[in-house]
Symmetry: C2
Subunit: 216 residues, 2 copies
DNA sequence: CGGTGCCTTGAATTTATTCAATGGTTGTGG
DNA sequence: CCACAACCATTGAATAAATTCAAGGCACCG
């Protein structure tokens, strides 16, 4: 079903290299990893030993219910940190949405710099991730289907994403909807002239204000 | 509407005292604050300057949509940390569910101990809060009304809470449902003999396994 | 005793889902 | 090059789930 298995070994071809994190505390070992579309980066419910950062492509965090229902916790794009879940075990697994390259850091980088470091570091990423999760709670708990889709497009737009790397099923599982509902709402937003989505994938916001108003 | 206003000043009667946090880094100034039921502890969208811990009572974190829709992010009980949202601004405000006493710490305690400290510290609380938020994402995005209510009761039970301090409206806003649906589901769980709820408030789990199975 | 606030229950309605069919694109093999 | 299969997205109609609307009950308080 997923194009893993045989090609996975080749895809995981790992090139390790040392790298200075810039915190003055010596060098940190960083692994660079490549993944094919839909390949698993780390599974759900496994001890979180490393932190990751997206270099290229896109990553989703995924959680499955025993009967197959799926929730996507977040999408991560180049520059974004992920895998900071819990120190005990990841609540969500991580998978490549498209072919992707990520860097893996030892967990120790979290406590390297303390509060003094630059704002782009992983310490702030944890707080950013919590903020994103809390925003998403509001969306899932209280917004309508149309508001969810509008908010999703606004968020992508704000993050500079102009090409949807994920399938409708991913969007649906992120927004707590079905693919059909997502599709209907996208069609509706297009008919209303707020956005334009070519070939199901390329995103163009035509009326940004109206869209963000709709996103509630 | 809320019993704030006049009595608020009295209620906020603050007793400050010095306190050793146990991290060996000297003493930290801790304020002890009391709040009446439904009183605001800190508002939504305000810089997060302090960390809080519940001493007694219960606290909810709240976020409002402009049209009045409300989402509760979490409930906090004695021993729980809260207010760790973002360093920029709180995504959620905090309010007392019942009369409550909390301790307020300076934000600096977050970086005091690093990774070496005991597991009960605020550093782990941030990660715990993220884990809770992620669990809640799954609940809001993919669970049915009955599963949500069952999961809520299971969670309270696991945290040792046997008395519901919050109103039905709070439960509804936490679970992304309406009060009527919450009430119906509670009635249904009682008719099924899984739980017993006396006087709308006291919680007794009769079939823990069955309930947690229902919680999915 | 009457009033208020909160909870519960039933019926009607709405929203999103499920079921079903169709269209478009891509890649493969004849 | 075209036919065909596989996969994904879209659309319509029927269904199910939760909400909204409405009424009534219970406890608490002045």
């Amino acid at each position: 079903m997923l194009n893993q298995s045989d090609t996975a070994i080749d895809a995981r071809a790992v090139s390790r290299n040392s790298n200075d994190l810039g915190q003055g505390d010596g060098r940190v070992r960083v692994a660079r990893l490549s993944f094919l579309q839909d390949q698993e980066i780390f599974p759900q419910e496994v001890p979180a030993t490393r932190l990751y950062r997206v270099l290229s492509g896109a990553v989703r965090t995924v959680r499955l219910l025993c009967d197959g229902r799926r929730q996507i916790g977040a999408f991560h794009f180049p520059g974004d940190w992920f895998g900071l879940s819990a120190d005990g075990a990841h609540r969500f697994g991580a998978e490549a949405v498209s072919d992707a390259v990520v860097e893996a850091y030892p967990r120790s980088v979290l406590t390297l710099g303390g509060a003094a470091g630059p704002c782009a570091g992983p310490e702030n990423a944890i707080v950013l991730q919590l903020a994103r999760a809390e925003d998403h709670l509001l969306l899932l708990g209280r917004k309508t289907a149309e508001e969810r889709v509008a908010a999703f497009l606004c968020d992508l737009n704000a993050r500079g994403i102009r090409e949807l790397p994920m399938r409708r099923q991913d969007i649906a599982d992120y927004l707590g909807l079905t693919i059909e509902t997502v599709s209907r709402m996208l069609s509706h937003l297009q008919r209303s002239g707020l956005v334009e989505i070519a070939h199901s994938r390329s995103l163009r916001i035509l009326k940004e204000d109206a869209l963000s108003t709709l996103a509630a």
